[in-house]
């Protein structure tokens, strides 16, 4: 099971605790999280299911390459980090 961890910046809006989920890709892992927490989906993905422009996802210290279809493969021991790209002031 991979672990998905979310930025603490989301705490202000809704609960987003770490989740252990199964899945072969980033997209599958996130979909498993959103199945349990549907309100979280719109904070991370846009209407077309792509990563929001100012949201970053890292697997084992590297940014995911496919931000549109979320097809980057993951392993069962991977830590997936979802956090905000720095913007604004």
């Amino acid at each position: 099971m991979a672990t998905v961890r979310f930025t603490s910046a989301l705490k202000r809006f809704l609960a987003a605790p770490p989740a252990e989920v199964a899945g072969a890709t980033v997209g599958e892992a996130l979909a498993a999280v959103f199945e349990a927490r549907p309100a979280l989906r719109g904070y991370v993905l846009d209407d077309q299911g792509a990563l929001r422009r100012h949201v970053a996802v890292y697997i084992g210290g590297e940014a995911v390459r496919d931000r549109v279809k979320l097809s980057d493969p993951i392993g069962p021991e991977d830590d997936i980090y979802v956090f905000q790209a720095l913007t604004g002031g």
């Binding site: 910046a9 989301l10 202000r12 809006f13 809704l14 309100a39 719109g42 904070y43 991370v44 846009d46 209407d47 077309q48 792509a50 929001r52 100012h54 949201v55 905000q84 790209a85 913007t87 604004g88």
Partner: protein, 361 residues
Amino acid sequence: MAERLYVGTRKGLFELAPDNGQWDIAATHFLGDPVSAVLAQGDTVYAALDLGHFGAKLWRRDGADSWQELAVPAFPPKPEDAADDPHPWSLGKIWVIEPGGVPGRLWAGTMPGGLFRSDDGGESWLLNEPLWFMPERRQWQGVAGGEQPGISSVLIDPRNPDDIRVGVSTAGVWASTDGGASWSIINEGMYNEYMPPEQKGLPIAQDIHRLARCAAHPEIVWCQHHNGVFRSEDRGHNWHEITAIRPSKFGFAVAAHPRDPDTAWFVPAVKDERRIPMDGKVVVARTRDGGRSFDVLRNGLPQRYAYDLVWRHALAIDASGERLALGSTSGGLWISEDCGDSWSAPEARLPPISVVRFASN
């Protein structure tokens, strides 16, 4: 119902109430978050947020209850054959929320130009597909040179909830008389100075900054256009320019008197690359004779080195027609109880203001 004014800013929503004859901040909400639209119907308040990282959000508060997050309008999956569509199929922000004239119904105007309807008080939203899938929609131009057009104004005829007009930056005025099942562009008589000569007068080339309608005489519609001020006496079909506007014809906001068809307010600024008040003085222009003449109102507004700009939704009037509120990009907030003759400011240094709105009954 309590009198309330809601002020949406770059850094939160401020709720004001009258206190011994002076408006003051009674509560703060969503501190730190950009607010893009507000609607207050009685004790029910809707607040749209435009979160930099996490997208557009919508919250509702019923009476003394705490805020509850609602679904946001969402665009359908983008079809393969829409690859050349210049507009994103994803909600940018909610720009305006209006009551739909029947219980539970709301309309939301958005960037990138989608119009959405809710029939359950904002719990769920449906894209108006006839407008979005219309081939002409791909000709809509983005706001301020951006890629996203925006529906800034949604006018529902108080006598007929199926009669809808929307104002678009930049795509003119679109009308439906069948509840949104079909649409046509209706605005004749406007011109757009910055377009090539042969395109100046095209209805779709018109940058409608904001529309306002007289509630008691819905055939009267006022428009603050990118290139000037216009008035229509036939529900937005034919427009004539109001050249008497002073001190300048550029601006974003307009408010229409709820009962007097000849009275409206504007907030003129230096066009259009500069977007600052004329001579560093904040003024409101008011006509009481259908646009033939204007009073330039300045009593209580800053008159020295003031560079406050007032956005499309930051001038509001209440149902009395006497009380107005004005909010600026510099965080200036002024309220008038006498049709704009004099203005006073609550003690506060607010963030940049995007929207001001009185609670309606």
